[in-house]
Amino acid sequence: MRASFIVHEIGIGLRRNLIMTLAMVITTAVSLGFLGTAILFNQQVSVMKDFWYDKVEVSVFLCGANSEGGSCAGGEVTQDQREAIRADLDAMPQVERIYYESKRKAYSRFKEQFKNSAIVDNITPDQLPESFRVKLADPEQFPIIASAFIGRAGVEQVQDQKALLERFFKVLKWVQWFAFGLALLMVVVSVILIVNTIRVAAFSRRRETGIMKLVGASSFSIQLPFLLEGAIAGFLGAALATGSFVLMKAVLVDRILAPNFPITRFITWGDVWLSSGTVFVIGVALAAIASFLTLMKYLRV
């Protein structure tokens, strides 16, 4: 069959069923949008994980003059205790590098973090603890450090930033699963709609297809226009979904989130194209498969 004839027939089919076609395109777009967003969200989480896990440190807070917790009964940490702790940390094979944060440095960092808050005026360098910031070769090995230093004279607290992050990522994990579940549900809905639309299209054109069978058109050429209609709907849906990803990246991420949260990194355009590509393949394939299965049942020779 000639291409121009097929294109003509598809045009007739899509126009005759305009409302259903529109519904098919929109549902496909929304479900693929959900799916792609779930993929992008997933990417974002893993970008953040890489970025933050790379930066996590173990903080060994030393006793200050006013400290009460930990092993601070002996008052503020002494010069000897501090040097001994530093030497022991240095000697541990799990430790990659350490640096010492004095009260003054802690204060200037604090001022930087809360520069827009009145709280800075009420804090003096004396009130902030000095600490060793320890970068571990493997962040999983926190317990070894903890057991070696908790309870030691002059150490108030040993804090693992990774534990804080893990709680945060656990919550994100649930959000991720929820997003994927929703996306999957939407995809199922759009497949059902595609099946129904193709069925209606096949029914409304049963006269044409009946004649085609009669004059000896092959099954393939009878089914092709319907298949392509489905695939076009899938394609348009995927295109709309991609548009929404681009908008999300350009506006939500680059304009709103990134300037306001300089502490983390965000998904790149590469991630956007990857999820767009995935959504295109899934969209067109789903639509074509759904139409094909429908036609197997309704347009047999």
Partner: protein
């Protein structure tokens, strides 16, 4: 050209077979009337030849092929050799006369230049010159049937099957249609026509096969319709 050998067709939901042990042979270039009352199995006979139905038992040969052994992807090739015409014309109302006839060639992938050449020829043959751009609902019943015949014949099939082609037409128009079918038959095309129309059968004096609930009760060359009603 068409051969049925001890063919029985039993539809799944029925107890009485639509055709029972029917054996018929129709040669190349013959003109055959298939007569009998409603429900006598005429339509089933034609559907078997088109492989729209499968025989429950027995064999159906069309153009030398055993239809029971014909795989489904070869059915379109069979149907390209068998033109079909129905009582209700089955035209596409949103297409013109030319487009309706061309459609049959478009969907089997004939090239454009061939279509633009043969469609006017066949429209001329069936007597529709000058009405190429009308739509079916602007034509009389007889003219619509001529479009349907043109569509069935445009691919030059070896066999033309007509299921009550004059059923919706008045006697005078029917005569015109019969002349046309006769003309097509004279080009060497085998014509099998199921009909109720006794006048036509009596006039044409062609071979008559009569079915009486599921069985062949008469097979007569140069026959007449036969029973009174």
């Amino acid at each position: 050209m068409i051969r049925l050998q001890n063919v029985t067709k039993l539809y799944p939901s029925q107890t009485r077979p639509a055709l029972k042990d029917v054996s018929v042979e129709i040669g190349k270039g013959e003109f055959v009337f298939l007569v009998g009352q409603s429900g006598s199995g005429k339509s089933t006979f034609l559907r078997l030849v088109l492989k729209e139905e499968r025989a429950t038992s027995g064999q159906v040969f069309v153009a030398g092929k055993d239809l029971a052994r014909l795989s489904s992807w070869k059915v379109p090739a069979l149907r390209r050799q068998v033109g079909t015409v129905f009582q209700d014309f089955r035209l596409l109302n949103n297409k013109t006369v030319t487009e309706n006839v061309a459609f049959a060639l478009e969907v089997i992938g004939r090239p454009r230049h061939q279509i633009t050449k043969v469609v006017p020829e066949v429209l001329d043959l069936v007597g529709l010159k000058g009405k190429e751009n009308r739509r079916p609902d602007e034509l009389s019943g007889g003219e619509q049937q001529r479009v349907a015949i043109a569509r069935a014949f445009v691919n030059r099939p070896m066999i033309l099957i007509a299921d009550e082609p004059t059923g919706n037409l008045d006697p005078q128009t029917s005569v015109g249609i019969m002349r046309l079918l006769d003309r097509i038959n004279r080009t060497g095309t085998t014509v099998v026509m199921a009909t109720h129309d006794d006048d036509i059968v009596d006039q044409m004096r062609k071979r008559v096969i009569e079915l009486e609930p599921g069985r062949v009760v008469r097979d007569q060359s140069r026959g007449v319709y036969g029973y009174s009603h």
